[in-house]
Amino acid sequence: MTFTLAYALTGLFWLGAALLSLGLVRRAALWRQGRAAPVALGRLITIPKRYFVDLHHVVARDPFIAKAHVAVAGGAVAVLALAALNYGLMLYLPALDALMLLAALLMLAGAMLVRARRKAPPARLSKGAWNRLPKSLLLFSIGGALAALLALSGDAFGTAAQGLALLALAGLALGGAELALGIGLGGPMKHAVAGLLHLAFHPRQDRFSGDKRSTDLKPLDLAAKDYGVEKPSDFAWNRLLSFDACVQCGKCEAACPAYAAGQPLNPKKLIQDMVTGMAAGSGPAYAGNPHPGQAGKVRQGDPHQPIVGGLLDPETLWSCTTCRACVEECPMLIEHVDTVVSLRRHVTLTRGEVPGKGREALANLRDTDTVGGYPLAARYHWAIDLNVPVLLPGEHTDWLLMAGEGAFDMRYQRALRALVKVLKAAGLKVAVLGEVEPDCGDLARRLGDEATFQQLAGKMMDTLGRYRFNRIVTPDPHLFHCLKNEYPVLGGRYDVEHHSQVLADLLERGAVPLKADAAPLPATTYHDPCYLGRYNGETDAPRRVFKGIGIKVVEMERSGRKGRCCGWGGGASFTDIPGERRIPDMRMDDIRATGAEQVAVACPNCTAMLEGVVGPRPEVVELAELVAARLAV
């Protein structure tokens, strides 16, 4: 009897392995519709580290599901490994059966947790096939446990043994089918295989190495007529693979500001749309939340047909603020923003169909080197009475202050004036470029106009190359990010700091002369700029500044790396896709919820967005203004 079960298990194992292999070949054929990508097969060996460190780092933020996943996945992998050894290789060792029993029980425990979560699932979770998964897991773990138990128990079950063995086999077969067929048919367990391969062949290999965050957009080779992604098959193959890793947990959806505002973008659905496109047809039934306002719309996907206008409405693309909240949250390390920008690039570069004021902004950038179409000479008008030297070729300065586009905004000029006041009071040798400072190209790049970005970046690097300075300081996180992270690959390397970093250092060194007795400071909260916090991981420096001037920050729930976007990023304030609410209004609600009287900001664009919130609200104060107000006169 035992031997019969053992042989059956061996057969089942190899059947499953064969089905899985066939499925993988079938799925890989879909991935291989994509373009070539420079990743080596040898990357496979990185999977364990990336799984246990990088991926787990994200998953561990939700302790409940992390525990459940450790138990289920750990148990399942152990069951499978032991089954492969004991039954696949026909060793039939009782000791291995015992281990398998333990593994199956662990998995069972995990599966119970998964089932519990599914009882009252958060709205972000997809339903449909995903609701079936806990049952499959239960069946498999019970089947596995029963099989191991039967194998260990000899004849103890007597006549019941045969029936139990059939039950065990049925459980294993039904539960195992979820895995064996998942990859081939695109079921939920597709994520296990694709997810592991995605870790190895991740499009951003630099994400896993070094101390720097990999958040820079990669340049297009325009000379080679690479204009971004039009069709699913225009994605690199490992990008297609990455879409298959999605577990539809909806963490991205829950974090996405555009989704919350009711704009037609659900990042989870966006990734599933890409899966649909890659796999053709209308895809496996999607049972998650739609792009807001598009419930019930069925889209046809085709790997060789344009995505925008077919699978996706253009408004979905243009709703993205590139804030990276989705990427930050994704346990499968999928890069949503890259996907959006790749698609935008094709629309912008080949069709020029940028909505709202986006087209005007791009034309302004091309014609005037400014987003708003201003005379360059006006960029430093606000500094005329502050006696900031304008750097001349041949002269040298320690710090080069770059004001960026915010310098044209009269509200933000107040912050710039305050910054200059503080830097001067601290004795820093600061100069500006005056009317030769061009635009860094951030907006052009996020709007998909890679050509204009590369032109502007070239101009910026040429300009900076003519002047002598040690370091650059800018209060604009977008400018900061471009100079620091996106120029090096183009050949521009600068020692650049965000003003929060400079201010924090100055305060800690005691270089800023502060008033001795401070008037009571109003309760203050801090809004992290996405391009400083998530893009550059700098959430500490601004808080060091607050500490330095004696302000205790009342933190918002969404702060630091989990901060919520103001709504400006990625040119979203230019494309201005309608939703049900405005993102800055939601952010102001976050701010109000802290009870703070003022919100500190550290970005010209956040300043503009939050200042634009109408009605009674906390004051919007820039970091430098807070420091300047504390200066000893």
Binding site: A378, I384, F408
Partner: protein
């Protein structure tokens, strides 16, 4: 970028201004004896520098010569080296805040009065008397021309030595230089008269001397008129020729253009256009001159609003805007524009209280901003108090609104009771008079500020003793205003309904009748306002007043506006008469008038008698609360006048104790400035 033109720097010669907003030269009447700027003078300008303006030109009509008197209107005296140090202090104060500072220098010629200081014999090209100032003058002689040119040169030396950023020379409103230009005043046949070239000779010699002294790099400007509006005066075309010629000399870095001559009462009223005139009434003259000028052009005259200023600049009419009275009303104007707080600007309404005071020889004060020129004692920005108090203000006229505003700015809990449904008190009525509508702007700002700051305003609520005490106040401020003092002479028959009050007419309570006698015993804006209200609705109006002239107490730039309307509408001015009684005869009212000087009686048969006799305080609440209050309703005048906190404020209050104060007309009749100053000087220390 909002206001791209307003905030675009401009460079005059080597002088770069941070924006295009200028406080142009005006007479301040603040200089210390000897014509030297003191602390008050410097702080008045420094406040504007703090407020962000680009350039201030101080010292309107500062004489360079000792035969151009300055003391009777406390002007700055540029004829002495003693001026250098005070001006240096002024320059330092302005530069500390990033603003530039220049001064206007002039010789007034005949435009002055001889009776003062040195009792000089005034000089003018042809010795023609100046009507407004009764400026009898002699014909200027060549040696005097030479001396005065030398005086300009000396003044230039002093200005440059003091560190000021530049010097403006006035040839506007008929000063000596434009007395030479004008065919109205120059009938000479020597090298300084006749052809335009000859008439311009003196001015050019002045600028040559100045340039010789200050060198090529120092900013020197010329202020000139764009049209004298006199048949025999300088026309716009002549002035364009002059402007072009002067700008082509290379001696001048900018032209500042104003409309209208100013040697008659009527033209003088145009110079600082009051609220009756449209916005920027003379910008076209400046634009005309800009069309021929080789140097940038500045213009001031009723530019009071940032959008208006931006529009004027963006349309290319001028290069710099003077917002001078706008700065008197709110020296922080520019920062508020820059910071997007336009709604918080205390906007000039063109009431001309400032300049009208100057023509009475009094220091310039703002009708609505009591802190202006009192910077040493009165705050433009109210600091928060250390201890929060409960303040109840009763009455939302100007005094009550200002009291509530200041108390709220201090951080106190403020309840403001007003029995009417709208705030503003008597100003609401004042704004009903024709061409006086902008008076409402004074209320608008106080209304918006009290709302913005979150004053608990109970409108339509006539507060009584119980309601006030129910608020458990620490301080009660009564600003209950007054009622018309029309019962002063019972024989006027107001009680019997024979005569009505100005309030009755302006509020619409009483319909105007056909033939109306307005008896104005106080000759302020109110009496003429109601007369004009009646006349513009078709009544035949006679204004009777015991004063020497109708509207006697309204000031040099206001009464001419009233008189334009008086004569245009056929009103009959009857000064020097008292009204003894009114009685009914048939369907007519008979007003009995008595001549002040002959005591002769006259009668008028009219349909309606309207009385304007000022205000009686509305003090019922005061008397009912006085004994209950801890300070017995006493305001200590020694500390009040010294701008110090009331002594009783420092004593602790126990239980239901409270302090009681009064401000404005509910004590005795003052004007709007008086009401607002009462409130600010008291409440700033709460």
């Amino acid at each position: 970028m909002r206001y791209p033109h307003l905030f675009s720097p401009i460079t005059l010669n080597k002088l770069t201004l941070r924006n295009r907003i200028v406080s142009t030269a005006h007479a301040e009447v603040y200089a210390e004896p000897g014509g030297l700027p003191g602390e008050r003078y410097i702080r008045y300008y420094e406040e504007k520098a703090k407020g962000g303006l680009g350039l201030a030109i101080c010292g309107g009509s500062s004489p360079v010569s000792i035969d151009s008197p300055q003391s009777w209107w406390k002007s700055v005296n540029l004829s002495t080296d003693k001026i250098i140090d005070p001006l240096a202090r002024l320059a330092e104060a302005m530069h500390r805040h990033g603003a530039k500072i220049m001064i206007q220098a002039t010789h007034m010629g005949r435009r002055s009065s001889y009776y003062g200081e040195h009792w000089p014999h005034l000089v003018s090209p042809s010795g023609i008397r100046e009507p407004v100032h009764r400026g009898n003058a002699k014909i200027i002689e060549p040696h005097e021309i030479k001396r005065i040119i030398g005086d300009f040169k000396q003044a230039a030396r002093r200005i440059k030595a003091s560190g000021l950023d530049g010097m403006e020379v006035s040839a506007a409103h008929q000063h000596l230089i434009d007395q030479f230009w004008s065919p109205r005043t120059n009938f000479r046949s020597d090298a300084y008269g006749g052809s335009l070239e000859n008439r311009m000779r003196f001015g050019i010699e002045v600028f040559q001397a100045i340039r010789e002294e200050v060198g090529a790099d120092f900013c020197v400007g010329l202020r000139m008129c764009g049209d004298e509006f006199h048949e025999d005066g300088l026309t716009h075309d002549m002035l364009k020729d002059i402007a072009q010629a002067m700008s082509e000399t290379g001696l001048i870095d900018y032209l500042s253009v104003v409309g209208s001559g100013g040697d008659t009462h009527n033209t003088l009223a145009n110079c600082m256009p009051p609220m009756a005139l449209p916005p920027e009434p003379f910008v076209h003259l400046a634009a005309g001159i800009k069309s021929v000028s080789k140097v940038p052009v500045m213009h001031a005259q009723s530019i009071r609003d940032p959008n208006q200023a931006e529009r004027i600049l963006s349309s290319g009419m001028v290069d710099m805007v003077g917002m001078t009275r706008a700065h008197i009303a709110d020296p922080h104007l520019v920062i508020k524009i820059r910071d997007g707080k336009e709604d918080q600007i205390r906007q000039c309404v063109g009431a001309n209280y400032c300049i009208d005071r100057q023509y009475f020889g009094q220091d310039v004060l703002c009708i609505q901003n009591a802190a202006t020129s009192r910077e040493a004692t009165m705050p433009h920005t109210i600091e928060k108090a250390k201890h929060k108090r409960k303040v109840v203000v009763v009455g939302a006229g100007p005094a009550g609104l200002e009291a509530a505003r200041v108390a709220k700015e201090r951080g106190h809990d403020v309840v403001l009771f007003e029995k009417n449904d709208v705030v503003g008190g008597q100003i609401v009525l004042a704004a009903k008079a024709p061409q006086r509508e902008q008076m409402a702007g004074i209320v608008r700002w106080l209304d918006m500020e009290t709302q913005r700051l979150g004053v608990d305003r109970r409108l339509g609520t006539a507060a009584d003793e119980a309601m006030i005490l129910a608020e458990q106040p620490d301080i009660v401020v009564l600003a209950t205003g007054g009622v018309p003092n029309s019962g002063m002479v019972p024989a006027w028959g107001v009680a019997e309904g024979l005569a009505v009050t100005g309030w009755d007419i302006l509020s619409g309570k009483v319909e105007p009748k056909k033939n109306v006698l307005v008896y104005d015993a106080v000759s302020s804006h109110a009496g003429f306002g109601v007369a004009d209200f009646l006349a513009s609705r078709g009544s035949q109006v006679e204004i009777v007043t015991p004063d020497v002239k109708v509207g006697d107490d309204t000031g040099g730039t206001t009464f001419p506006i009233f008189y334009r309307r008086l004569y245009a509408q056929g009103m009959i001015p009857t000064p020097n008469y008292w009204m003894d009684k009114v009685y009914q005869e048939g369907d007519k009212l008979i007003a009995v008038l008595r001549n002040e000087y002959t005591e002769a009686l006259e009668e008028r048969a009219v349909d309606q008698v309207v009385i304007e006799n000022g205000i009686l305080p509305n003090d019922t609440l005061y008397w009912s609360l006085k004994e209950r209050s801890k300070n017995l309703g006493v305001t200590d005048v020694h500390t009040l006048f010294a701008s110090q906190p009331q002594p009783c404020l420092s004593e602790p209050l126990s239980g239901d104790e409270f302090l009681l104060f009064r401000v404005g007309d509910c004590i005795s009749m003052h004007n709007i400035h008086g009401a607002i100053y009462d409130a600010l000087r008291l409440v700033k220390d709460f």
